[in-house]
Amino acid sequence: MTLPAAAPAHADAPDYLHTGGGVAGWLNTRDHKRIAIMFYVSVLVFLALGGVFALALRTELLTPERTVMDAMTYNRMFTLHGVTMVWLFLIPGIPTVFGNFVLPIQIGARDLAFPRLNLASFYVFLIGAAVTLAGMIVGGTDTGWTFYTPYSDQTPTRLVPVVIGVFILGISTIMTGINFIATTHTLRAPSVTWRRLPLFVWAMYGTSIIMVLATPVLGLTLLLIALDNGLALGMFDPAVGGDPVLFQHIFWFYSHPAVYIMILPAMGVINEVVPTFSHRRPASYAALAAATFGIAFIGFLTWGHHMFVAGISELDAGFFGVLSMFVAIFSAIKVFTWVLTLYRGSIQFNTPLFYFLGFLFLFVFGGMTGVAVATQSLDVHWHDTYFVVAHFHFIMVGASLTAFLAAAHYWFPKMFGRLYNERLGMVGAMAVFIGFNLTFVPQFLLGNLGMPRRYYSYPPQYQWLHVLSTGGAWALGGSLLLSLANLLAALKWGKRAPANPWYSRSYEWLTPSPPPTHNFPVTPALDTGPYDYTISEEEFRASASAR
């Protein structure tokens, strides 16, 4: 891997990119920053793959009947898109890249608690990804990423390799979760008390708890459907006394919390971006931290809202409906706190702030449509239509991917020691927002009209909305390429970044850009906590070298 030469601000230690070791130095590294970069490259490749699948799907949907592929290929393609985006991009995305890179620095640690486990999690992730993708190419399962039984027991395609691949990916996720929890408990610098924990760390900590508690349930479910499909165990097959709806309960018991594995890290990024660019402490640190755990906890009690028309009892449906609304309450607390943080700030316009603004609209709209689909009588019409597709893409793409891009720009100077082109970055952020809306707003309308999801062919009256959506998808793809090209160009031609280009007061900006291998020459003593904008840049810097 070739990375730009950038002299560290404190030239006494070489930065982590230039400690040498060649290729082996990267592949055998225990440095959380290098592992983060390896994850970064991997998840970007998978994002691109998932994006290509999405564009192929959208292109097929340009016409009501066959456009470029047959029905079986289409069904395999949407499965591939879902599996890739969920397990190879959204779930690992922010935690393994930015969590890995930033979390130890933000708590004043030299590395994660278990550096070898961290490296192992990367290779387990690669193995899982390879098995999953190979399974998709060879067997090409067509069940959709939800693997609903008993179709997945009977599918004419090969299911088992994909399921085993996702199982392995789950092991990697658990490793990451354990590592973050242990690190947060044991490696905080003495001055970083729980009350001074940066909000991004709180978000990672909450995410890790869900990872550790929910992923084993996914593993169990996947093994059971592999046994059902491969060895005719019959756990979920009514022909031999199994229960197909039981699968939906245990699948969503994992997969609904998994939504919060994807969104809490995104909220964590926003928690950092807003105070930095408004140069102000968050309107309420306690509210942001507590709401994280509110969401993490209540997320385990809402899975039934995926099953309002699957024959669960009306009373159960009522409980699941009202519990689901608490998620929106905790999310609203976060939204108001972010917006209130802007009030009387000293706001500096940079690309991450543009992504925050896009995130805000998409997250609030996507979140409130989430409450709408948790409203049972409305969900009866919307369930399994494009309305639901549009709703979860507002959260998964509109919020999570937007926050990923915000993080990619926000921490870029820290990770690579370079500054990207701000103007192009802002144009990219706006283009992503416009392309996204053009893709998914028509899908809300399609859902209202009653267009079911996972339809290869569709009645012709839906066509013009599909054409709009496909146009938007290509625009979105193009704007993502623009943003990526801007960042890649900055690796080589970008201006050298100072240690703290955004004048932030969060701890990671105390280290040079890029940081030396052990992050801090001495353990920093921070007497004021993060987000203290009453101190000057010199006072902030001084805290890094104390003790």
């Binding site: 029905a71 079986m72 069904n75 959709g144 609903y148 008993p150 179709y151 009977q154 004419p156 395609t157 009514p238 022909a239 197909p244 408004s278 140069h279 309107a283 309420s284 509210a287 309002f308 028309v309 024959g311 009522g318 409906g321 009202v322 609304m325 607390i333 108001f336 706190t337 917006v339 209130l340 009030y343 009387r344 700030g345 000293s346 706001i347 603004l357 805000l360 609209f361 609030v364 709209f365 409130m368 409450v371 709408a372 409203t375 009588s377 409305l378 009866v380 019409h381 369930h383 399994d384 239509t385 309308l445 209202n448 009653g450 079911p452 290869y456 062919s457 009645p459 009453t534 006072e539």
Partner: protein, 349 residues
């Protein structure tokens, strides 16, 4: 809601016609929820944008920057959150009551049995009538569907009724509705169920009660005079079945039984080999070797489709053993005969 406003909102929100008795109330909640959502999201984004511009940094950063005292926001925030919670609770309460109304059928329903399979809908009436892909119901009378699946989970969805219910193998689920007036409304399968999921469509044909009675009676007369107990009813046509050529009857059977979802008649390969030119052609087999597609092989393939699989096609065909009376098998064979013996074959997709 005033009918003009109702129509106007329904149009801008792209909602289909309100053809069932529950649809208008559900739509009214829909309007309220979506308008609040739009206003909320736009309002928050506009407020953020206004503050972003209002408090933009006008001069280079001063050191140390002036930290304004935090606005005493706790009361305001608590107020907003409580208001929001009450709003959501109102959505939930109305939605839950409507859900109970949708889910719990009234006592005096007219019952129809629904069987879903890959990839068709079958409807059986208490009076003995049977249809495929066309659900005839009376207007202005509550109808209860008692549904099950023969293979995987399907979902019965009528957008114009705002109703949907999963159809699950090994158990029965129910769905009730009352259609407001005569008309035709599409039925979709909403739960992914395999290769041809998106073609698993049908329609609800709502007749007024007198016409529905005549339709039921016509079906009964047809069965009384028919030479076989399951004479195919002509799709969409009332009155007794007419004598017809075997080939034409084969086409009707092929359409009714779903053969044509996978097999084409025009030489175009689809999910399955085309019927055109199939008769007496040489069929390459998946396990190697080949076989001549004579009457024996064609019959075997209907009754036990996995016995000898045409190479290059995914084995998705269901067995018709016990489901096709001999006369209909003969009609299908005659149909395939009539499409020629040309050995020209499509290649698998």
């Amino acid at each position: 809601v005033n009918p003009t406003i109702n129509d106007w909102l329904r149009t801008i929100l792209f909602l289909p016609p309100q053809a069932s008795t529950v649809a208008p109330a559900i739509d009214h909640l829909h309007y309220f929820v979506i308008i609040t959502t739009m206003v909320g999201a736009t309002g928050v984004a506009l407020l953020a944008m206004w503050w972003l511009v209002r408090y933009r940094r006008r001069a280079p950063l001063q050191e140390p920057p002036p930290e304004e005292p935090a606005p005493s926001s706790i009361g305001l925030e608590l107020g907003i959150i409580t208001g929001l919670f009450l709003l959501f609770l109102a959505w939930w309460l109305v939605g839950f009551l409507q859900y109970l109304r949708v889910r719990v059928p009234p006592e005096d329903t007219y019952d129809i049995y629904v069987t879903a399979k890959q990839w068709m809908w079958k409807f059986a009436y208490v009076e003995g009538n049977q249809t495929i892909a066309q659900l005839y119901v009376p207007a202005g009378k509550p109808v209860k569907l008692i549904m099950t699946s023969r293979d995987v989970i399907h979902s019965f969805f009528v957008p114009d009724f705002r109703l949907k219910m999963d159809v699950i193998p090994g158990r029965y689920t129910t769905l009730w509705f009352e259609a407001r007036e005569p008309g035709t409304h599409p039925i979709y399968c909403a739960e992914y169920c395999g290769t041809q999921h998106s073609t698993m469509r049908a329609e609800v044909i709502v007749l007024d009660q007198a016409d529905f009675g005549r339709w039921l009676a016509a079906g009964q007369r047809e069965r009384a005079h028919a030479p076989t107990p399951s004479e195919p009813s002509v799709v969409g046509e009332l009155g007794p079945a007419q004598p017809m050529p075997l080939r034409q009857r084969g086409e009707l059977v092929a359409a009714r039984e779903g053969c044509l979802r996978c097999h084409t008649l025009n030489g175009q390969p689809h999910i399955a080999p085309t019927f055109a030119g199939m008769y007496r052609s040489r069929v390459p087999l998946a396990g190697g070797g080949e076989i001549v597609a004579d009457d024996d092989y064609l019959t075997e393939s209907m009754m036990d489709p996995l016995a000898k699989i045409h190479a290059g096609f995914v084995p998705v065909m269901p067995s018709y053993f016990g489901r096709l009376p001999p006369a209909e098998v003969a009609a299908l064979l005659e149909l395939i005969h009539s499409l020629g013996e040309t050995p020209e074959k499509g290649t698998p997709p």
